[in-house]
Symmetry: C2
Subunit: 239 residues, 2 copies
């Protein structure tokens, strides 16, 4: 587990835009002067994995068998470290890690590291994400263990603000995703959050970098946070 990994496997497809955007950010965030200095990435961007939120809420089939097949494909293709650019999928993290011979990065660890990188080390941190991510407390327990006070929207607010923003990204209607996602950020800021976690990999696409300053609060982009962690691990000392 201590050797520097040589090929990053990416279990994508959840959604496919987030998977491809993660692969792009891996390249853009890596310091490099030529092709050969970049990190080898194998991306399995298979969107046929059943919906994670539906499964978690008991209204759809489990995504676990399809996710395990994806892990198998990545390991067979030489991946010696795996990232999963989907927050909700991390509700199955323990089962995935148990079945995988290679190390899996945990997106919530990456987000906590990113909060610290941005100077937020304590206090209220807001969480936006899918209904399952919020209801199952994926972020809440990790943030509490790291010394933060997590706050989240109500179930009604998640349905009204997060769900349509995420659905718009998945349907390639990025422009329609900003307003509800931004309202979610403002609502948590009004309740005292010092930072807000864009805790679903569609949300950083809904609130693109160029429009973040207008929200006036620290935002953690879970796609970039996961990419930064992979780069720090695989190119130690460069970032």
């Amino acid at each position: 587990m201590n050797a520097v990994p040589q090929r990053l496997g990416v279990l994508g497809g959840m959604g496919p835009l987030a998977g491809a955007a993660f692969a792009l950010r891996m390249v853009q965030l890596t310091p490099a002067d030529s092709d050969q200095q970049h990190i080898p990435v194998l991306l399995c961007n298979d969107p046929a994995i059943p919906d994670r939120s539906s499964a978690c809420m008991g209204t759809g089939p489990s995504p676990l068998p399809a996710m395990l097949r994806g892990i198998d494909t990545l390991v067979a293709g030489g991946a010696d470290c795996i990232a999963i650019p989907c927050n909700t999928a991390h509700l199955w993290f323990d089962e995935l890690q148990a079945a995988s011979p290679t190390r899996l990065l945990h997106i919530v660890d990456s987000v906590v590291a990113d909060l610290r990188r941005q100077g937020v080390t304590e206090g209220k941190v807001g969480i936006l994400g899918t209904p399952a991510t919020i209801a199952m407390g994926l972020y809440q327990r990790y943030l509490r263990a790291a010394g933060y006070e997590p706050i989240e929207p109500s179930a009604e607010e998640v349905q009204r603000l997060c769900v349509p923003a995420i659905a718009a990204v998945k349907a390639n209607r990025i422009d329609a995703a900003f307003a509800p996602a931004a309202e979610g950020v403002r609502l948590l800021a009004q309740r005292g959050a010092k930072a807000v976690v864009l805790g679903c990999t569609e949300l950083p696409l809904a609130v693109p970098p160029g429009r973040r300053a207008e929200l006036g609060i620290v935002l953690t982009d879970s796609i970039d946070a996961l990419a930064r962690e992979a780069i720090a691990l695989m190119r130690p000392g460069t970032a």
Copy 2:
């Protein structure tokens, strides 16, 4: 060969930004309302493949063995159709296709289809690309066979305009890439080109969509052209 392929393999890494951008454009150009309607993609974005131009010009090792290993990884991972978002790599197309049990899409076919989609069916078409792509005539013979009159920059102009634009993209300095690439486009337009092929997958990144209108000429983006061909093949009737 006639069945609709189910999983697109992408031999990327040449360069890695182009590989990731291709995966992103596959998602953005596919008509879909949910994750599950998107096309399954397996992207091998391994940038360790030796430089194609150097090999072709006799100043570096052959990329063929590394490309063949990439094809093997994709086929083992279930790919039943393969796209290679690197124009120069197509100088080895026949060897790659001979060694592959699955169909390879040819980027030059995709570009010719894209010229026709944009209404350019004859006349002078300019080509920008790497020194190897231009010197080896990758586009010239295909364009002639399709009824166009290909024109290209001189070897000195390729070195002065294409090479620095491509190198800037590979070093994540996108902003520095526009000016030389744009000068290459203008130079071919002045010589009578009705359209210019951005015939290296770094060049569409050097001349991003938002800055194409100012050049006042039809441009063919070889990344988008290849993605459109894959989507037309794998989602017949939707595009």
